[in-house]
Amino acid sequence: MQTENKLPSVQNPRALVGKIIGIGSAGIHAAGYMAQTDLRELSFAAVHTDARTLENSIAPDKLLVGAGLMRGLGAGDDPDLGQAAAEEDFPRLKALCTGAELVFILAGLGGGTATGAAPVLARAARETGALVLPMVTMPFEFEGHRRQQQARLGLQQLKASADGVLCLPNQKLVKLLDEGARALEVLKLTHELLAQGVRGLWQMLTRYGLLNVEFADLAAVLRGRRWESSFACAQAIGEDRAQVVFEKLLSSPLLDEGKQLPESEAILVSVMGGADLTMADVNGVLQRIHQQAEKAQLVAGAAIDDELHGQLAVTIVVSRHGQCAHEASGAAAGFSRGSDSSDEAAGPEIENQFFGAPARQRPAFRFVPPPPELTPEQTKRLLAQRGGSSSRRRKAVSIWSQGQLPLEIISKGRFDKSEPTLHDGEDLDVPTYIRRGVSLN
C-alpha cells in the first residue's frame, strides 16, 4: 500500500496547489459559483476581455486581457480578437498561473474570449509547468450554427494545448430539466455540474486512495486528440448503493443514457466513500462499468473521504472517438469570415489562419485595405467569381452538416442470405477491411 499522497509534487507531497481560472463570462460565473461551494482549497482567478464583467466577479485574482486592443469592451463574439487579446497579455497570463500545479480552466466555448483565449491560457499555464485541465461547456443548439462551429474549433485548439479537456454540452442539460425550468436554474445546473466535475477530479487526485489515480492516468484517458471526453457524477446512500450509483450513471444524459459506455475507448472511474467504503462497493461499480464497456481501457480509483460517511460517490470520465474533429475541419470552410483574403483557404488551413495568426497582429478584417484599382469589367468578373465560390462553399458546408444515419448498409455479397457469422457482436461476413476501417486510397 502506498503511504504517501499521490500527487507528483516532489518537494511537498501532501499539498497540491490547484487553481481554477474562469475565462470569459460563463467561465467567470462558473468559477464564482464554485468559490461559494466547498472547493475552498483551490484558489480562483478570472480572466476576461470585458472590464465590467470582471469587475463584478468575486474572484480574488482578476486579469483584464487585451486592454490595448479592445479597451476592456469585450471581444464581441470574435475568437480571433479573443486570441489576439490573450497573446498580447501572454506574460501576464503566465504570471497568473505561476505557482499552481494543477490548473482547471473553466470556459463556455462559442463566444469570443473563451473560444479564442482559452487555448492561449492553456498554453501559458503549461509553460509554467502546471498540468492543465480545461472544463468547457458547448453552446446550446438555439445559440446557432456559427457559435457551435466556433466552439468546436475552439475545443480542437484547446485539446491541442491542454493536458486533457472535459466537455459538457449544454444541450444535454435540457434533458435534465423539465420544460418550465427557469433560465437561472439552467445556469445553476451548468455551474453545479462543472463544480461536481472539478470536485470529483480534485478529490480523485488529492484524497488518500485505496486505489490511487494519478494525474498521468487522468491525462491518458483524456489524451487522444480525436477523442471526445465527457464526465458524469453520481452519489448514492444505502444498502445497494453500488447498484443505485451505477443506474444513476447509466441514466445520466451526459453519457447519452449510458450509450457512450459501449463505444468508449478509455474510461476513468473514481469511487469515493467514507471510511465504511467496502471493497464490494468498489468492485460492484467497476464490474458493472466494465461489463458495459468491455473494449475500453479502464482506469479505476478508489478513495476515502470522511465527509462522505455512508455515501458512495462516483465520478466517471469517458473518452470515445468523436466526430468533432471531422466536423470541425469540414465546417471550418464556412467559418472563414476572419479575413477577405481567405476565400481559397481549405478546411485544415482555416485552423491555422484562425488561431495560428501571428501574435499581437490585429485581425485583418478590422483593417480593410483600400480596394485595388480595377476596371468595371474586372470588378464585375471578380464579384461573379466570389459569388460563385462562396455559394460553392455554402454548398460544401451543407453537405457536411447533412445528418447521417449511423448504419451503413454493406452488401455481404454471396453471404447475403446465409446465416450471419457472428463473433463477439461482429458480423464476420462483412469484409474485414471495412470493419477495421482499413482505407484503400
Partner: protein, 408 residues
C-alpha cells in the same frame, strides 16, 4: 464379403469442392490410396448444404470419378462434417471402483467414459466424437491406460465434439439417397489433423488449421491428445467475397485474382502497382490495384488467425504448441501464409503434408485433400478396431476412439 480387406472411402463435402478418396489397407496394415475423385461443389455455403439436389449431383460425380480411377464399387463412406454449429469442449467423468480387489477393469473405464458423455446438451444436439484424453486414478494425473491398475475411483478427461442433430443429418441423408452407406461421421478438423500431424508432433503439441473454402477448422493436440477443437464459419469464400466487394469485380473474377495474385502479406514491392484485367476477348477491361488486393486479403486472413489465436489464448493452450502451427486445406496454398502464421501466433508455421500414408503421390502432396485423406485414415483405424472388437470384445467399443487417437 468379397474381400478380406475392404476398401475405405473418405468423402469430404466441402464448400468449394466435393472430394472422395479411395484407399485399401495392405497386408502390413498401412493404407494405400488407389483413387481420387473430385467435383466442384455448388450447393454448399460455409460448410453446410444449402441446395440438396445440386449437392447430391456433385457428390455422385465425385464418387463416380473415384470409382473409375480405383476400379472399385463404393458402397460405404466415412463422411466428413463441419459447420459453425459444431462445438468442442472438455469434460470429465468418473466411476467408483466397487470390486473387491479394487482392480480397474475395462468395464470401469467404459463406465467412466459413459459418465463423461452424459452432458447437459440441448435435446437437438448430437455428440459427434468423444475422445479420451487422460485418466486419473484416485486423483493421480496423467495415466494413459488404467486397466489393470488399483484404485478406488477412476476419472477420465474427454474432449466432446457435438453439433446440431438436424444439420448433421443433412449430408448423411443426401449420401444415403445415393444408395451409399455412411459408416460414421467425422469432424473435418480431426481428419485434417490426422493427416497433417505425426505422433511426435501430437506429443509435443501442435495446432492444425484447416483453412477451407467456407469454414476454418482448428484442432489443438498436446501431450498426444486432442485438447481443443473449433470451427470458424469463415474461409476462402470470404476472401473472394471481400475482393469482389473491395475491387468491384465479379465473384468469379475475384476467385481467379485470389488464386493468381493473392498473398497473405502485403510486401513493399506491390505498392502502387496496378493489374490490367482483360475480358474474354483479351481486351483491357479494368484496372485493379494490386496493393489493395493484397491488403484486403491480408486483413481477412490475419483476422481468421487472430480469432483462433484469441480462442487459444483464452484457453491457455498457446504455450503448449511446441511444434508450432500446421496449415492445411486450400488456404495453405496462399503464398506467405506461413509468415502470416508466424506473425500472428509467434510460432513456427508449416504447410501440412500427408504422413504415414502411401499411394498416389500427386494426391497426397496437395493440402486440399488433407481432410479426405484424414477421413480414410480415420476409417482405417475404425475398421481395424471393429475387426479387433469383433474377435476380442464381442460387445464392441461403440464408436469411442480410444488409444488410437492418442497414439496416432
Amino acid at each position: 464379403m468379397f474381400k478380406s480387406q475392404p476398401i475405405i472411402v473418405g468423402l469430404d463435402i466441402g464448400t468449394s469442392k466435393v472430394c472422395a478418396v479411395v484407399a485399401e489397407p495392405n497386408e502390413a496394415g498401412a493404407i494405400n490410396v488407389i483413387g481420387v475423385g473430385q467435383a466442384k461443389s455448388r450447393g454448399v455455403r460455409k460448410g453446410e448444404i444449402v441446395d440438396a439436389a445440386v449437392c447430391g449431383e456433385d457428390i455422385r460425380n465425385a464418387i463416380v470419378e473415384a470409382e473409375q480411377m480405383a476400379d472399385v464399387e463404393i458402397r460405404s463412406v466415412f463422411l466428413g462434417v463441419t459447420g459453425a454449429h459444431l462445438r468442442g469442449f472438455n469434460n470429465r467423468g468418473f466411476h467408483p471402483i466397487v470390486s473387491h480387489d479394487r482392480e480397474i477393469m475395462e468395464d470401469d473405464v467404459q463406465d467412466a467414459v459413459k459418465n463423461a458423455k452424459a452432458i447437459n446438451l440441448p435435446a437437438e444436439n448430437h455428440v459427434v466424437h468423444v475422445i479420451r484424453q487422460h485418466f486419473l486414478v484416485d486423483g493421480q494425473d496423467g495415466i494413459v491406460n488404467p486397466v489393470g491398475m488399483f484404485g478406488s475411483r477412476v476419472e477420465v478427461d474427454v474432449h466432446v465434439v457435438h453439433g446440431n442433430f438436424n444439420r448433421l443429418q443433412n449430408p448423411i441423408r443426401i449420401v444415403k439417397g445415393l444408395q451409399i452407406e455412411v459408416e460414421c461421421i467425422v469432424f473435418n478438423g480431426l481428419a485434417s489433423a490426422l493427416t497433417s500431424l505425426d505422433n511426435q508432433q501430437k506429443e509435443l503439441g501442435a495446432l492444425v488449421i484447416d483453412l477451407g473454402g467456407g469454414t476454418t477448422e482448428y484442432v489443438v493436440y498436446a501431450d498426444g491428445v486432442i485438447k481443443h477443437t473449433g470451427v470458424l464459419a469463415v474461409g476462402g469464400d470470404h476472401v473472394s467475397n471481400d475482393l469482389a466487394y473491395g475491387l468491384k469485380v465479379p465473384m468469379g473474377r475475384a476467385e481467379q485474382l485470389k488464386i493468381e495474385q493473392g498473398s497473405a502479406l502485403v510486401d513493399r514491392a506491390v505498392r502502387g502497382k496496378n493489374l490490367q484485367l482483360a475480358n474474354s476477348l483479351g481486351l483491357p477491361e479494368k484496372t485493379v490495384n494490386l496493393e489493395h488486393l493484397r491488403r484486403i486479403m491480408s486483413v481477412r486472413l490475419e483476422e481468421i488467425f487472430q480469432l483462433i489465436a484469441d480462442d487459444l489464448e483464452s484457453t491457455g493452450l498457446l504455450d503448449y504448441l511446441r511444434c508450432g502451427v500446421v496449415v492445411s486445406g486450400g488456404g495453405a496454398r496462399i503464398p506467405e501464409i506461413q509468415k502470416l502464421g508466424e506473425q500472428v501466433f509467434g510460432l513456427p508455421t508449416t504447410v501440412g503434408k500427408a504422413t504415414a500414408i502411401s499411394g498416389l503421390k500427386s494426391t497426397l502432396d496437395q493440402p486440399e485433400f488433407a481432410t479426405a485423406i484424414g477421413l480414410v485414415k480415420f476409417g482405417a483405424f475404425e475398421s481395424k478396431k471393429r475387426g479387433e472388437s469383433r474377435t476380442l470384445l464381442p460387445r464392441g467399443l461403440r464408436g469411442t476412439l480410444t488409444q488410437l487417437f492418442r497414439r496416432g
